[in-house]
């Protein structure tokens, strides 16, 4: 079964599928307003405004320390903003963190799993925590295989996995959750080119289902390939926003470097 097939298979007799939202849905799934996060004197996020609609893939570009990961952590409710507001599908994260997380899936830069459990057991656990406890082992195995994990590895202990294999399990956890929004923090870090390509296809499929995606990345190529919009961050601020339809790869690299030199 292909990734597309896995994602589009109705979950008959299992957890009720989350309704597919159309790209014309007016309210943003992910929304930040005048968002500020300080660590002492350092302003990690400085008045960020962001709005991501269903079916949109928003790529946050920027150097290390630009505030990309902090922004994702604010959406997850891992940290509290000093000012401003973060919303997920209309839920204020500060007030309804669990409701917000129910609608979010997250793939960190380093997917760390229970080393003594297999990839499948890890997926079963995190899927169940995410509310998908009724998904069968067969279905979860299909998801793992479709995100690129070799079938023989599904039942092996994660301690034997490479970083890329762990990353694939992380992506499988996000896919299994069937969330309205997907937060990705350097998701292709550690993936080989083939897996990166498969990942882009996966993002495209999710986008087609109306999932809103926020991806922090250093990978300009992947951002241009997968994103519908690109925001460049520096010193906690969004210095520019671009539509990927309007620019080519070379333009993106030039614009990015121009902003980094300012």
């Amino acid at each position: 079964m292909s990734t597309q097939a896995v994602l589009e298979t109705p979950a008959t007799g299992e957890a009720p599928p989350i309704p597919v939202r159309s790209a014309e849905f007016e309210d943003p799934v992910l929304e930040a307003r005048s968002l500020v996060k300080r660590y002492g004197d350092l302003e990690a996020v400085a008045g960020l405004d962001l709005s991501i609609q269903p079916g949109e893939v928003y790529c946050l570009l920027g150097p290390n320390g630009a505030g990309k990961t902090t922004t994702i952590h604010l959406f997850l409710g891992f940290i509290e903003p000093d000012a401003g507001r973060v919303r997920v599908s209309g839920f204020d994260v500060a007030r309804n963190a669990l409701d917000a997380r129910r609608r979010l899936a997250y793939v960190p830069e380093q997917v760390m799993l229970y080393r003594n459990l297999s990839g499948l057991e890890n997926l079963q656990y995190f899927a169940a925590l995410g509310g998908r406890e009724t998904l069968s082992s067969e279905r979860l195995t299909d998801i793992l295989v479709d995100v690129g994990l070799p079938l023989p590895a599904v039942g092996r202990r994660v301690a034997e996995y490479s970083k890329g294999m762990r990353q694939k399990v992380g992506i499988a956890i996000a896919v299994a959750k069937d969330a309205e929004a997907l937060l990705l923090d350097e998701p292709t870090s550690g993936l080989d080119p083939k897996a990166s390509r498969e990942f882009s296809e996966l993002i495209e499929t999710l986008r087609g289902r109306g999932v809103a995606v926020l991806m922090a990345t250093h990978d300009l190529f992947r951002a241009k390939e997968s994103g519908t919009r690109i925001g460049i961050m520096r010193h906690g601020r969004l210095v520019t926003e671009l539509s990927t339809d309007e620019i080519g790869h070379a333009d993106l690299e030039r614009i990015y470097l121009d902003h980094m030199q300012e």
Binding site: H73, R101, M112, L113, R115, L117
Partner: protein, 475 residues
């Protein structure tokens, strides 16, 4: 749902982690050994008491046969042990052993039952010094350290097992990186920690309570369901205290190494240092009089009494005019003189032992006052009370033995003073001892105090843990 999911995952992790399984197996063996030790002690105690009861019956039978033989015209086997003499019949030859049966759950908590006498030979010679001596020969080191019983394992070692399983319940997730994925799900850190600790609590309390109930089953203690319930409540409350403390420390957001250091420090303070400190303070503030001093006083009183027998008898009869009828001090028989001397010694001993008793009571009062500092002290008190091996049951036994000794004296002393001769007919009328055990409501009332205090500590630490864990929102 979170609870079930986490429980299942924890079970998988436990099965996959041999080190954890090994720790649990080692503790299961310790529990089993402690139970076997307790059961062996109860067997020994019951054998001793059976022998004592047999001895009682044999003495009465021997005396009856001897008295019958003399009544039939025979001679006493020894002129110094003529059973017709009330001082012989009421003395060592006819002494009755008053016994305290093991508490219903002694196999679980030997307590001080190996230190405090659980039987006394009662005769007209019984005095306060009799209550300070233990007839059993035992390795003093064993008495000092106490037996390795279930109560010891629960109070001292169970917290270590709990801490070994729980010190990194949250910090470990953070350090291995799984906390980020976990908290990106619609679950709170509080919920996850509670579920993870619930899994460990099921394992640990299942082990502790399972072995306890097995011990109850083997020793027939199910006849006292109230005591069993008290025991289980004390074990559960104590275990939950340590789990809650581990949750609190994890909620502080420090490293696993830091958590382990703090928790082991807390164990050392609450289980070892504070109880020892309270006991040492009690001993320093209210030192017991020296045993040498007491023995010297006993000897001095004894010598003095022997030298002044006639005078003492006259004084005794002045103090007890109701016994003076027909007895003239000048014509007193030898037994009456001996009794007067014994009584003088007893009075002097009462003076000395009353100081001992007062100091001991002051020590116990101080320990009772400061037991609230340590959950270990509170739990030990509740466990021993539930088992029937606490101070209160022994004090009750001693008090009833004192009362029995008084009845024994009252039976024989008038006959001694009157110089009467006893026959086999008096044997059925001899005073007998039967321990009247404490009522469950008394045990409940007593155990309610340490249990309530333990519950209070649990609520306090639990509130701290909840407050800290609420603040954990991210990895």
């Amino acid at each position: 749902m979170t609870l079930r999911t986490v429980l299942r995952n924890e079970w998988r992790l436990l099965r996959a982690d041999r080190a954890l399984a090994l720790v649990l197996v080692v503790f299961a063996l310790l529990f089993a050994y402690a139970l076997a030790n307790g059961l062996a002690w109860v067997d020994f105690q019951e054998e001793t008491l059976a022998a004592a009861r047999e001895g009682n019956a044999e003495r009465v039978e021997t005396l009856e046969a001897e008295l019958q033989r003399i009544a039939d015209g025979g001679q006493p086997s020894s002129p110094f042990r003529d059973p017709r003499s009330p001082s012989v019949l009421g003395g060592a030859s006819g002494a009755q052993t008053a016994v305290l049966d093991p508490g219903p759950l002694t196999a679980l908590a030997v307590g001080q039952s190996d230190l405090l006498p659980y039987y006394y030979d009662v005769s007209i010679q019984t005095n306060e010094s009799s209550f300070l001596q233990n007839g059993e020969i035992e390795n003093p080191l064993n008495l000092l350290v106490g037996r390795f019983d279930l109560a010891f394992v629960v109070v001292y070692l169970l917290p270590l097992l709990i801490l070994a399983l729980s010190f990194n319940v949250l910090s470990g997730e953070r350090e291995q990186g799984t906390l980020a994925l976990t908290l990106s799900q619609p679950v709170s850190a509080r919920g996850v920690v509670t579920a993870k600790l619930a899994f460990r609590a099921i394992l640990v309390m299942g082990l502790a309570l399972g072995v306890s109930l097995l011990g109850v089953l083997f020793s027939g203690g199910f006849g006292s369901p109230g005591r069993v319930a008290l025991w289980c409540a004390a074990v559960a409350a104590y275990a939950l205290f340590w789990f809650t403390l581990a949750a609190w420390v994890n909620g502080l957001g420090r490293s696993s190494a830091w958590n382990a250091t703090v928790l082991v420090g807390a164990w050392l303070l609450l289980v070892v240092v504070l109880p020892a400190g309270v006991n040492i303070t009690a001993g320093l503030l209210h030192p017991l009089p020296s045993r040498v001093e007491m023995i010297t006083a006993q000897r001095e009183a004894s010598n003095e009494a022997v030298n002044q027998r006639s005078e003492l008898l006259a004084r005794y009869l002045e103090d007890h005019p109701e016994l003076a009828g027909g007895v003239a001090a000048e014509e007193a028989n030898r037994a009456a003189l001996a009794w007067a001397a014994t009584d003088a010694v007893n009075r002097r001993l009462e003076e000395v032992t009353s100081v001992h008793g007062e100091r001991l009571a002051a020590q116990q009062a101080l320990v009772r006052r400061y037991r609230f500092l340590s959950p270990a002290l509170l739990t030990q008190e509740a466990l021993l009370d539930a088992a029937g091996t606490g101070d209160a049951r022994f004090a009750r036994f001693q008090s009833q033995v004192r009362e029995f000794a008084e009845r024994w004296r009252t039976f024989f002393v008038p006959a001694i003073l009157a110089g009467e001769q006893m026959t086999a007919d008096v044997l059925p009328a001899l005073p007998s001892f039967r321990f009247v055990d404490e009522q469950m409501r008394e045990v409940r009332a007593r155990a309610a105090i340490p249990l309530a205090a333990l519950g209070g500590l649990l609520v306090l630490v639990g509130a701290g843990a909840v407050a800290r864990l609420r603040r954990v929102t991210g990895p």
